[in-house]
Each structure stands twice: as C-alpha cells, then as structure tokens.
C-alpha cells in the first residue's frame, strides 16, 4: 500500500508564545480531497504553509509522500496557491508562468504555459503585465501557476476568494477534474458550499486544533453549517461560514 501523501503526527507550530497549531494528527491519502474549514486565526494557513514546507514545524512529525526528510526535490510534487498570488506585477502573464516553469523544470514549457493560460481563460491577456489584472484574473493566473508543473498534491489557501460566481464555478470544475485525475487536494475556505462541492473529506480547525472531522464522507452543506455552528460557535458563523 502506498504511503499517505500527508502524514502529520502531533504536528504543531508556535510563533513565540503564540500556538498557531497544536498537536494535529492528520492522514491524507493519494486521491483524497480535503476541505479545511475554520474561523480566522484557526491555524488553516499555518497548516497549509507547513504542508508546503514554507514553515518548519516546531513540534511533531510531518511526512510528505512517505518521506521522513523534506527535501527540495519533494516540492516538485506540490502545487501551492497561497494568500498572495506569487506573481510579479512587472512581468506579463506568460513571463510569470515561463519563470515558474523554469524553476520547476517543466518540459515543453512554452506549450504547457499556453495550455494553462487557456485552462484559466487568460490566453488573450498573455502578454499583459500582471499589474494591470483584476483581482479575479490574478487569482486565475495564480491557479495556473500552481497547476503548471502538474503536481500530485495541491494546497489551496482560500482559492475561491476574489472570484465572481462564474469564476467560482469554473474553479470548481478545474478542481473536480483534478480530483478525478487522482490529484490530492487540500484546501482551506470559508465558503462551505464551494468547499464541499469539490472535496470528499472535511475537517474543522478552531484555535489551532482539529475540533471535528468528517471521516470518509462529507455531510450536505446545510448540515455542515450546523456542525460548524456547533463546533466553532455562533459568533463566527455569520462572519466566516458563508
């Protein structure tokens, strides 16, 4: 049996005296798609940064693809979409993707760049500087950058934020297709409905701890909102679980 894509044992991360994430146990297998819900400050972004190897854990063990050591080469198998787009405003859309293609050693880079621009419907804007893009266009290009090197594990931090309803549907299509192709997806979102549309597992983080997990099947969105209210508290629901 293949090792889990993500295996976190008592994983924790502190920033000085603040515990952003504490003693988290999590196993994600190849082909799983996991939605992480939780209020602001729950530790969702910290968890994703740990999984992306941007942050080093202060406690516990993290194994990615069964590897005990987080080698740089392992990052070729990970695609990350963060709060920032990781895109250079003074470069064009195509130049940004070409740059990341070179960093990740993508073969046939020019063809792949064209494919990804078409996938996120930005072919007409390929030679425009990213600085001139709207928030939604930048988010779509950031998604193309995350998918560019065909990673096995996709880490998506608030992927639906800044997108109009049509773009949200398009993103859901892309992620559902990636899931069907066997990609492993871990995403954080406040958008319960969109998250459940894409994912077959869900967890709720609160105060840096996992307070609920779905097991192997997720509830309906209306049921999930009730669970969220129960686990996180009424005060967070209006602000966070839209």
């Amino acid at each position: 049996m293949a090792p889990p894509v993500i295996e976190a044992i008592r994983l924790g991360r502190g920033f000085g005296s603040v515990r952003a994430l504490g003693a988290l146990d999590l196993v994600v297998r190849a082909g799983d798609s996991l939605a992480i819900f939780g209020p602001n400050g729950a530790g969702k972004t910290t968890l994703l940064k740990l999984l992306a190897t941007v942050l080093a854990p202060t406690d516990g063990t993290l194994r990615l693809f069964g590897e005990p050591e987080l080698r740089p080469e392992l990052r070729r198998r990970i695609g990350m979409l963060g709060h920032g787009s990781f895109l250079y405003g003074d470069l064009t859309a195509a130049e940004n993707l070409r740059f990341y293609a070179a960093l990740f050693g993508v073969e046939n880079a020019e063809r792949r760049v064209a494919e990804m621009l078409a996938e996120v419907r930005l072919t007409a804007w390929r030679d425009r500087p990213v600085r001139t893009f709207s928030r939604g266009m930048e988010q779509r290009l950031a998604l193309a950058r995350a998918f560019l090197h065909a990673p096995d594990l996709l880490l998506l931090d608030e992927p639906f934020s800044g997108l109009d309803p049509q773009a949200v549907l398009h993103l859901q299509e892309i992620l559902t297709r990636a899931h069907r192709q066997g990609k492993t997806i871990v995403l954080t979102t406040h958008d319960i409905e969109s998250g459940l549309e894409v994912c077959d597992r869900a967890v709720i983080l609160c105060g840096g701890r996992m307070v609920w997990h779905s097991g192997r099947s997720v509830p309906a969105p209306s049921e999930m909102v009730k669970i969220y209210q129960r686990e996180v508290g009424e005060s967070h629901v209006g602000a966070d679980s839209r």
Partner: protein, 217 residues
C-alpha cells in the same frame, strides 16, 4: 538559479527604477564631496566619495531586490520551488553584483573627472578592487536584506545590520582605491586586495550556508 537572476534583471531593465535611482544618489554624493573639496581634491577624498556613493546606493539597491519578492508573497513562490535556498541567495547576490557593477561604471569615471585623478596605468587593479568590494558588499547586503525586508523598520535596520559588518571591506576598499587613484603602486595594494578577497569568500560562504534559515520561517 539563472531563471531567478534573469527574472530580476528583466524586471530591472523594464522598470529601470533601481539603476536610475542609484545612479542619481551616487552622483549626488560625488557632487557634495566635490563641493566640499573644491581647491585641492586628494586621492583619499576621491576614494572616500567613491565608496560612500557605492555603499549608500548599494544598500538601497539590495533592499529593493527583496521588496520585489515581498509583493504578492513572491518569496513563498521561490521557497516552494524545488531548489536549494542557497541558489536563491546566489541568484540574488549576482543580481546585486550586476546592478552595482553598472553603478560603478557610472560612478568611477565621474570620480576620476570630478576629483582630477588619473589611475590610467593602474586601471586594471582599480577594477579588481571595485569588483572584489562589490562582491563582498553584495554578499552581506543580500543576506541581511532578506532578513530586514520582513521587519517594519527595514529602511533603518538594514544599514544598522550591514554597516558594522562591512567595515573591514570598506577600510580595505578605500585604502586600496586611494593608493590606486594617487601615486601608489600595485604592490602597495596587494595586502588590501587579499583582505577584500578573504572577506568575499567568508561572507559568500556564510550567505550560502545561512540563507535557508533566513527564508524558511
């Protein structure tokens, strides 16, 4: 590594914000020194003006390299790529060396003209001193700019962190340049060139080894 260097230079060529602002700053420093020594400019004054212009402009230039990566959290894009963080350091350092070399190509001839010094026979040695000074200074500022860019008071912190460390480099560079711009021989500057070379090796190695701990939060 080359991809990062090429990307940085492409952005610099496109915006021309870095080199042009550094050149103006370098020119201003030379002019102020020229006004301060209008009668009898000495090689020592010329060397001091040359390296002061270089340090002021170079510190700002190094900071700019990382401000570029701060926008849209681009540094995370580099850190999540499958490459050794030391290669990011090398690329950033080389980018600074290239930009500061352009600055030196502008500032050194202006120093020669403004201060009426003629290092014709020792031009090659002066180029060696400038290059070694450039490499050592870029190594230190690249490492510390990566640290200071995450701090709110980064404009204050970078010079505070860097200037004490580059003192040996500045002493060696100014001493060597003063002799080469005056009547000194190449033999007189050999010890200073050795100091510069040793400084370059130590701080380039330190940057190579420590950069991972700087960028990995």
């Amino acid at each position: 590594m080359l991809a990062i260097l090429a990307k940085d230079l492409r952005i610099e060529l496109r915006t021309r914000e870095g080199v042009s602002s550094l050149a103006v700053l370098g020119l201003l420093v030379l002019l102020v020194f020229q006004f301060a020594f209008p009668e009898r400019p000495t090689p020592e004054a010329a060397a001091a003006a040359l390296w002061l212009a270089f340090v002021l402009a170079g510190t700002i230039g190094a900071q700019r390299t990382f401000l570029l990566e701060r926008e849209n959290a681009c540094m995370h894009g580099l850190v999540t790529a499958p490459l050794d963080p030391a290669m990011i350091f090398v690329a950033k350092m080389l980018g600074n060396v290239v930009i500061l070399t352009v600055l030196q190509f502008l500032v050194v001839p202006l120093t020669v003209v403004f201060f009426d010094v003629a290092p014709t026979s020792r031009l090659g040695w002066l180029a060696v001193v400038c290059f070694l000074g450039n490499v050592g200074f870029s190594a230190v500022t690249t490492l510390f700019a990566a640290i200071s860019v995450r701090i709110r008071a980064r404009e204050v912190m970078l010079p505070l962190l860097v200037l004490p460390l580059v003192s040996p480099l500045l002493i060696a560079a100014v001493q060597a340049s003063a002799r080469l711009l005056g009547d000194g021989s190449a033999a007189e500057v050999s010890v200073w060139i050795q100091v510069l070379a040793a400084f370059d090796v130590i701080f380039a190695a330190a940057g190579w080894l420590l950069f991972e701990y700087v960028v990995r939060e």
